[in-house]
């Protein structure tokens, strides 16, 4: 299990705990938490012990305690401010998604090269690509989503990294590599479908 997997599990735990808290719950057992996160209780307890998360196993964990410990570890003091480059189908779906707000993610602005997409008065605003560096610095943003066509992706990523972006979520179907100063997480939806198909077929064959 990589560090990314461990952090993903802790992030999922936090999202589940926030929902349980909204429902009025005060305590949770590791088995219940694990089931909601979709992993084994042993793995949750292992993750917790790596980060020194404590609770009274017999009586369960206090949700408030766990949340404040997780927020200290994962950082939650400030909203995660993100820029989007490419305001087409995927970019627009992300810009209009209200669900980000509940998870502390704020899309600050979108950028595009198509004049028809530019609208500085929209919420969030869509600016021309020329404004990217200015807005990034003014808002001190370090993470961006890349949602431009495949043949522009490497060029756009390079521009992001030169400007000072340190984390890119890439939707273009080519695996971009970051560098010493920038992490890239690739999401390839077609590849996920092909992968799913392979294992479905494998299951049918056996």
């Amino acid at each position: 299990m990589s560090a990314k997997d461990t952090i993903s599990r802790l992030l999922r735990c936090r999202a589940v705990l926030e929902k349980l808290k909204l429902l009025g719950m005060v305590k949770v057992y590791s088995d219940n938490l694990a089931a909601a996160v979709g992993v084994s209780a042993a793995l949750v307890r292992k993750d917790f012990s790596i980060f020194g998360l404590t609770g009274h196993r017999r009586g369960g964990y206090r949700i408030d305690d766990l949340l404040s410990q997780l927020n200290r570890i994962l950082g939650r003091d400030q909203p995660l401010k993100v820029l989007i480059v490419g305001c087409g189908k995927i970019g627009t779906a992300l810009m209009n998604y209200r669900g980000f707000g509940t998870q502390g993610v704020r899309i600050i602005a979108g950028f595009d090269v198509d004049p028809e997409k530019i609208n500085p008065n929209a919420v969030p605003p869509v600016y021309p690509m020329d404004d990217f560096e200015r807005v990034m610095n003014a808002e001190q943003i370090r993470v961006a989503i890349l949602a431009t066509p495949e043949n522009t992706a490497a060029h756009v990523a390079e521009r992001m990294i030169m400007a000072g972006i340190r984390g890119i979520l890439n939707f273009a179907p080519i695996p971009l590599k970051g560098g010493p100063s920038c992490l890239v997480q690739n999401i390839d939806i077609a590849l996920e479908l092909e992968n799913l198909y392979y294992f479905v077929r494998l299951g049918e064959a056996t």
Copy 2:
């Protein structure tokens, strides 16, 4: 590395080889292929040896040979037919994506409960949810994308599985678990951003 990672790399290799072929190339060295896929050449060679993919290392691999071997292993004889449940922001972006065609993925139809979204004459057509089982069986489809709101996801997944769906790509931000008869791949975009932020902050702290 899990089996899924290995298959993902082979799928990426195939996508890269198809693009190289379109450019008129006939041979490729494992180093070049590895760079395009975003992994080390040693890993590509290891994957190839697991599946018995051969080539003359000194002269590189013949692209046509590799492609026919990969298509035999990964299956490419028929298009991957997929249904989408939930034709909102994400669902619509996926239904209108021309890029799936080049990777052999065909969105056969969408389904929704909102009468305003229903349009059997659209391409692809959008049907009421009541028609899901009928279309799934008529087209013999085994994989579906779930793009409905979070609070409906578990119910929609259950219905898919009962109908006979064996693979679900889930965009709702709750981790769905499949079962013995159905694989689920969860894509949580907000979680990916939070994860990216954690490691960007970690990099800045050290």
